[in-house]
């Protein structure tokens, strides 16, 4: 594993990201570029109320409009397709692409209009007349838990989708034995990733072949299977084309309802269907909001700073349907104590339906909110004890020599050296000078604060949270595959079996195969077969592709090397142990035994020279199971992800006490994701993740008014961080290889995002600490800061006046 790292020719080298060439030149191929003659377009009639019975739908005027081909209501659709897949055991929370019977959130799609052009479909949608009977609705997760609350799915009986309590270790004993306890509540606001490219899909039905072709802006495990199930097609009746560039995702590009609808129309009408959301459809009803979560924490600790036990209740507002989102309460179980040695944990995971837009997976799958809660807890413990925040963390962090480290919830962390990463960051930033700078700003009358966050990125995504939260789910397999083929000219073709949303999988696979075969990665062709030609895989989720795609690529290349050595030994008569593979050739004791051209010649043309029983051609594949993913949960414990990257954020923020617009003066992050395969990709992920985290901490929120109407459904109101808000970020690298992976790599697809909100919140609190204020809900908008300061100052002034 590590013995090679110093000898790597391509891995870890700052080589150009091959995909960037086409993106920078504007030559990507996105779903909107799929142009099939005769395509029809879809527009929607959106529900007006947060909750209403659909009494009647009159489509007559709309059907008379020019270009209109078809209009379908939810009732008509539900009669012909199966409900969309449900992750939890909640069969009566049925979800279809269109509202059936009831509208359960404002903007939910009620009717789909198909026309020759999108414009015609939109104009016709305007003329569909829907009569509603308003119903009571619930927006707040805590209210949704009460007995009196309107129930979003009456057949289900309550709003509770998930209510599970885990106790790992002697929680009550640890609480009894601890010197101190404190409680806190923090809230993670409803935000998401909001890619500039909205979700889009093109579907085409071939009645003679009986196959549905799908091109989509998708990042979703088991996408083709889910389409087939919903439409009642055999699995091999759906062909998803993976050679479509996805214009940003970070989890949310999971347009299953859109795709099922497009597939339904494609079959029904016998013409290609294109459904691309406009911005408002995407924001309101694309079902792509991220977690909205209230954390209630009790923590028990000693006066020396040792944190002994934690009770955490996480209440998630899932929106109107279940989807896969409640599992986002499950993944953080695999890192529930963060990077700390906390002896016991009680975790209460609660997910409820409300009349808000449906939640979807977002970068980190619930880990960033949890990290924010844990880090805020650590800051509060330090404040309570009057202890330095860094010192408190140092005392509780898992030490390098303690790895592999088993946490109470059953996961073993692979490796890490947290203290060293922190020391390197403090040294790089000149921490004492940073503190002096903060104090200088304070002396000038500014509010200035330093924030820190020490967080984990679980990576290598398997689905252990599925069987943990739903006993009927027996999934422990979460594989990824690569196939390598060397053609008769000696050219190398590597097949990967997924779409990509900017993660650089082509560069990853080429680098790894190039490394193992010792050939120039740029000479390797990467192909993306469609889903019917693909080996099994689970798409780029759970920060897994460096580990899983990289791992599968390395192992497939190793199989090829073994075959090549066997052939060389057979042809040369030299024992295999005396042969080495180097520089794309086999070397024996007296020089080159067989070069690449000859290897290819033997495998493709000289069957008579092949060892007995060996098939001709030069081809290998590997289907890799997630390392450590060997067992189902037992007694509420399971090994979640295999690898754990570490990040340490240090940020200085200053703002005027009256205006309170936070300005990030310095941002340093220490990052350890094991062996880096491509430094540009990891850097890009980290910078983007921090920008995303700034949005979550300060700006982005899907806010609803009292009527249940979404108030932030365009970029005028949903505020994204721009270059004005994103500072220069200094990255300090450290490498603690993982023992579980081919090169020692860990995941980095969520880096930055997992700690930035915690660090920024911490900095703001440090800036206002003297006023005794806490701001316990993200995003912390500038108005909230200035109002809180004004209120605190008014109280203080009054006190002085009296």
């Amino acid at each position: 594993m590590t013995e090679q790292s110093s000898q790597n020719r391509f891995v870890s080298q700052p080589r150009r990201v091959r995909e960037d060439r086409r993106f920078v030149a504007g030559k990507g191929r996105f779903v909107a570029d799929i142009d099939i003659p005769g395509t029809l377009h879809v527009a929607f009639v959106a529900g007006t109320y947060a909750a209403a019975r659909i009494e009647s739908i009159d489509t007559s005027a709309a059907l008379d409009m020019p270009g209109v081909v078809d209009i379908v209501t939810g009732d008509q659709l539900a009669a012909e397709i199966a409900p969309l897949m449900n992750g939890l055991d909640t069969p009566k929370v049925r979800r279809y692409p269109l509202a059936v019977g009831d509208v359960r959130y404002a903007g939910e799609w009620v009717c789909a209009v198909v026309a020759e052009s999108r414009e015609q479909a939109e104009d016709a949608a305007d003329l569909v007349r829907v009569r509603y009977a308003k119903r009571d609705f619930v927006l707040d997760a805590e209210e949704a838990l009460t007995r009196e609350a309107p129930v979003v799915h009456p057949d289900h009986g309550s709003n509770v989708l998930l209510d599970k309590t885990f106790v790992w270790g002697g929680v009550e004993e640890d609480f009894d034995r601890s010197d101190e306890k404190l409680s806190l509540r923090v809230t993670w606001g409803r935000n998401s990733t909001v890619p500039i490219e909205t979700f889009g899909v093109v579907a085409k039905w071939d009645p003679w072949e009986r196959i549905l072709d799908v091109w989509a802006s998708i990042q979703m495990p088991k996408y083709a299977d889910q389409i087939a199930r919903a439409l009642g097609l055999p699995g091999n009746g759906v062909r998803v084309h993976y050679d479509v560039d996805v214009g940003g995702s970070y989890g949310v590009k999971r347009g299953i309802k859109h795709t099922v609808l497009a597939g339904f129309f494609a079959r029904r009408l016998g013409r290609p269907i294109r459904l691309i959301e406009d911005r408002i459809e995407n924001m309101r009803a694309g079902d792509a909001h991220g977690p909205e979560r209230i954390f209630d924490i009790d923590v028990a600790f000693n006066r020396d700073g040792t944190v002994r036990s934690m009770k955490m209740r996480a209440l998630d507002n899932a929106g109107a349907y279940a989807g896969r989102a409640p599992f986002q309460l499950g993944k953080p179980i695999g890192a529930i104590v963060g990077p700390y040695r906390i002896n016991s944990v009680q975790y209460h995971a609660l997910s409820v339906t409300t009349n808000k837009t449906v939640e979807e997976a977002v970068r980190g799958f619930g880990q960033s909110p949890t990290n924010y809660a844990i880090e805020t807890m650590m800051d509060r413990v330090a404040a309570h004890l009057g202890m330095d925040r860094l010192e408190l963390r140092r005392r509780n962090l898992i030490r390098k020599e303690q790895f592999p480290y088993l946490i109470p919830s059953g996961t073993t962390y692979d490796s890490g050296d947290y203290h060293t990463v922190i020391d390197k960051v403090l040294l790089h930033a000149d921490y004492d000078a940073l503190v002096a700078e903060r104090d200088r700003l304070r002396a000038e009358g500014q509010c200035a604060g330093i924030g820190i966050a020490a967080c984990l990125e679980p990576s290598g995504g398997n689905s252990s949270f599925e069987p943990l939260l739903n006993e009927k789910n027996r999934t422990s397999t979460w594989m990824e595959s690569v196939r390598i083929n060397v053609d008769a000219t000696g050219a190398v073709i590597v097949a990967i079996h997924t779409t990509s949303a900017g993660q650089g999988h082509e560069t990853l696979a080429a680098t790894v195969v190039g490394e193992r075969l010792q050939i120039d990665p740029d000479a390797i062709r990467i192909v993306r077969p469609d889903s019917l030609e693909s080996l099994p895989g689970n798409s780029p989720v759970g920060s897994r592709m460096a580990i899983m795609l990289g791992g599968a690529a390395a192992r497939a290349a190793d199989t090829l090397r073994a075959q090549i050595l066997q052939i060389a030994s057979h042809v040369s008569g030299i024992a295999e142990e005396k042969l080495t593979y180097r520089e794309a050739a086999v070397h024996g004791p007296d020089g080159v035994v067989m070069d690449w051209a000859e290897i290819v010649d033997v495998t493709h043309r000289r069957f008579h020279d092949l060892p007995e029983g060996m098939s001709p051609g030069l081809s290998a594949q590997h289907i890799l199971q997630v390392p450590t993913g060997t067992a189902l949960p037992k007694d509420g414990k399971v090994q979640m992800y295999p690898c754990f990257s570490f990040e340490f954020h240090l940020v200085l923020i200053a703002f005027d006490p009256i205006l309170a617009k936070p300005e990030i003066r310095r941002y340093v992050i220490g990052h350890d994701c094991g062996t880096v395969i491509n430094p540009h990709i990891v850097r890009g992920m980290t910078l983007g993740g921090i920008a995303h985290g700034i949005g979550a901490a300060l700006l982005e929120e899907f806010a609803y008014d009292d009527d249940g109407q979404l108030q932030t459904q365009s970029f005028l109101d949903y505020l994204m961080p721009s270059s004005h808000e994103v500072p220069n970020v200094e990255i300090v690298h450290h490498c603690t290889p993982s023992p579980h992976t081919e090169f020692g790599q860990k995941g980095s697809g969520e880096s930055g995002y997992l700690g930035a909100p915690a660090a920024i919140s911490g900095a703001i609190h440090d800036a206002i600490a003297s006023r005794g204020i806490t701001l316990d809900k993200l995003p912390i908008r500038m108005s909230a800061i200035s109002d809180a300061i004004a209120a605190a100052d008014a109280v203080q002034k009054k006190g002085i006046d009296v």
């Binding site: 959106a46 903007g107 008014d705 109101d717």
Partner: protein, 156 residues
């Protein structure tokens, strides 16, 4: 979200003419911005269809309009409620017409309403100014109506 509007407008037309225009569906169809159709469905009760564009969203609105407490040609109350792809709306307004010294009339009006749905979500921050703009457009249209029925003159 709640909206309210009030104001005064001067017209060259005498009170009776202004009154007649204000309850004439044909005149109103011409003057209400985006109005496609206004149909009388009973005494003092109408159905109105409007097509509008607010901020980034455009769409339709179908409403019921009814007149109450008619005191010709001086004052009246109007109720509106309806919905469409733009969202929902409900409101009440009242107006008073007083003669002016030059033989014209002055209209003072007050209205309050509540809008919901798409338009309230997307357009909330500009809805007030948009509604003021729409009212202004309405009165401009109404004044044009009077000047057109008199002689050809430019709008003020």
């Amino acid at each position: 979200m709640k909206l309210n509007l009030e104001g005064k407008e001067q017209f060259d037309a005498p009170p009776q003419e202004l009154w007649d225009a204000l309850i004439d569906p044909e005149v109103l169809t011409k003057c209400i911005p985006g109005c496609r159709k206004m149909t009388e469905i009973g005494p003092d009760s109408y159905v109105i269809e409007v097509q509008l564009k607010v901020a980034a969203v455009g769409g339709s609105f179908e409403g019921a309009v009814s007149l109450h407490d008619k005191n010709e040609p001086e004052s009246c109350r109007i109720k509106v409620s309806g919905e469409g792809s733009l969202g929902t709306g409900e409101g009440q307004a009242s107006f008073t017409i007083t003669p002016t010294d030059d033989g014209g009339s002055e209209l003072s009006y007050y209205g309050e309403g509540e809008v919901g749905g798409l338009v309230a979500g997307v357009g909330q921050r500009i809805l007030k100014s948009v509604s003021r703009h729409l009212v202004k457009q309405f009165f401009t249209g109404l004044k044009k109506h009077f000047s057109a029925s008199d002689d050809v003159s430019t709008e003020s």
